[in-house]
């Protein structure tokens, strides 16, 4: 498969980590935990309040997840909930930013945010082994959870947009598109500009579009990988380009 645009073939050698190393607690977390464990509810609350607005002094989120789980396990519920709530609060802006860029209708956006917060809270509380990575890489776990939840809502939004389009246009139109193979690829600047509008594409369109323009795959490879015909891939690319074209012209679907 062709190389990614702009990337050299000398890939960065990321340090290979064994699963054991990857799942090991950060020593800073261990040391923060040792200091926090003896504290009671009032001292912890004071400490967390004092950290507000001073990110440099903040305890690592992984430390807080460990603490919350320990306190839930020992029945020290007040402290456990306080810590869990702090974690949800601290990540409000991140969650909002990541959801907003998908241009979901307002009701879906609200539900999506709530689902992410609910599932994150569940993971923070969970002491099952499959939730242990939250104590190792909190930010990554939240990111993956966010992507999973958004994916559900993006599908719903895509179906709704498609049905809106079907009402406005002849639904058989897509089938009649026969664009030429090997359409021109976007350059780096166009790719950067298009990022914001990718969320307006249906999942299939987006996948084909990103693989073609961002990953520089050819249409046949995309078709093979997605289990679709070449013609379907061309149609997906053409309809994605049309959506982006109308977005560029300032005609992006309005948030109702």
């Amino acid at each position: 498969m062709p190389e990614q645009a702009g990337a050299t073939t000398e890939y960065a050698e990321t340090e290979a980590q064994s699963p054991e190393t990857r799942f090991r607690l950060d020593p800073r977390v261990e040391s923060e935990l040792a200091r926090l464990r003896p504290l009671g509810a009032p001292e912890l609350q004071r400490l967390l309040e004092a950290e507000e607005g001073r990110p440099e002094t903040r305890k690592m989120p992984e430390t807080l997840v460990c603490m919350a789980r320990e306190r839930f396990g020992s029945g020290d519920d007040d402290v456990a909930w306080m810590i869990a709530s702090e974690l949800i609060d601290r990540n409000a802006a991140t969650i909002f930013r990541n959801v907003r860029c998908w241009h979901l209708p307002p009701q879906h956006e609200e539900d999506c945010i709530r689902d992410i917060q609910m599932e994150a809270l569940q993971s923070i509380r969970s002491r099952e082994q499959n939730a242990e990575f939250w104590t190792v890489r909190f930010g990554l776990c939240l990111k993956r959870l966010t992507l999973n939840v958004i994916d559900r809502y993006a599908h719903i939004a895509a179906v709704e947009r498609a049905s809106d389009r079907d009402e406005a246009h002849d639904s058989s139109r897509l089938e009649s598109i026969e664009p030429p193979a090997g359409a021109e690829r976007l350059n780096a600047q166009e790719r950067a500009e298009a990022r914001e509008a990718l969320a307006l594409l249906a999942p299939d369109q987006r996948m084909a579009f990103v693989l073609y323009h961002y990953e520089q795959w050819d249409q046949r490879e995309i078709a093979e990988r997605l289990g679709k015909t070449d013609r379907t891939v061309r149609n997906l690319l053409r309809s994605a380009e049309e959506t982006l074209e109308s977005w560029r012209a300032g005609n992006a679907p309005a948030r109702d």
């Binding site: 498969m1 190389e3 990614q4 990337a7 000398e10 890939y11 960065a12 980590q17 990857r22 839930f72 396990g73 020992s74 029945g75 519920d77 909930w81 709530s85 949800i88 609060d89 409000a92 802006a93 969650i95 909002f96 930013r97 990541n98 907003r100 860029c101 609200e110 945010i113 917060q117 609910m118 809270l121 569940q122 509380r125 969970s126 002491r127 099952e128 082994q129 499959n130 990575f133 890489r137 990554l140 993956r144 992507l147 958004i150 994916d151 298009a194 990022r195 914001e196 990718l198 969320a199 999942p203 987006r206 996948m207 990103v210 693989l211 961002y214 990953e215 795959w217 490879e221 990988r225």
Partner: protein
């Protein structure tokens, strides 16, 4: 279940590796990731197709009213979860059912046989014979405090909710079994599982 666990850990590790690589100076192309991890091709493609959108979001500012709305939503979520959590356990199997699991699923997650789980649920096993790690295992599976499990299992035994009785007064369960006896008598646990529960803590 172990296989699902391995898969989940593998996906966690892969996502971490892929994210770290994307932030490096010369990230590997998607095709090379797929060649390395063909079993995760669908995940890798899904992450790659969402990545440009999430990248674009990274620098976006959040208006105070939007932040306030998100904070309020989070606090409501915590308050609701806390209210549910504060209610005493109505039953182990009832709590499992509330999560959409059967008694068998809960038993499997805890690592005991279903008959042992049913006996635990009805408190037909003497509390003083229960190992501490059982409270932890049930607490972890149901995501409740070990203390809540302990408190539930300490209460008097109950009769089967399906049984009907003709006596004037409500009958009482008089005999309870030890945990070790319940494990030994359980036909659904293999020798290794039994051994792991029967060894001293």
């Amino acid at each position: 279940m172990e296989q699902a666990m391995d898969m989940s850990r593998e996906k966690d590790a892969l996502f971490a590796e892929w994210c770290e690589d994307r932030e490096s100076k010369a990230p590997r192309p998607l095709a090379s990731w797929i060649a390395l991890y063909p079993a995760h091709a669908a995940d890798l493609m899904a992450w790659a197709s969402a990545a440009p959108i999430i990248d674009a979001a990274a620098g976006a500012s959040v208006d105070p009213p939007d932040l306030e709305r998100t904070l309020r939503s989070g606090r409501r979520v915590v308050a609701e979860a806390r209210a549910v959590h504060a209610a005493p356990l109505a039953g182990l199997i009832a709590a499992a059912k509330a999560r959409g699991w059967s008694a068998e699923t809960l038993a499997r997650r805890v690592g005991v046989g279903t008959s042992v789980m049913v006996k635990l649920d009805r408190r037909l096993i003497r509390f003083d014979t229960l190992p501490g790690r059982l409270f932890r295992a049930v607490g972890e599976a149901l995501e409740v405090a070990d203390e809540a499990v302990r408190a539930y299992l300490q209460r008097p035994p109950t009769l089967s909710p399906a049984a009907s009785y003709k006596a004037d007064r409500a009958p009482r369960v008089t005999s309870q079994q030890s945990f070790a006896d319940a494990v030994r008598a359980c036909g659904e646990m293999d020798a290794e599982q039994k051994q792991s529960w029967l060894r001293r803590e």
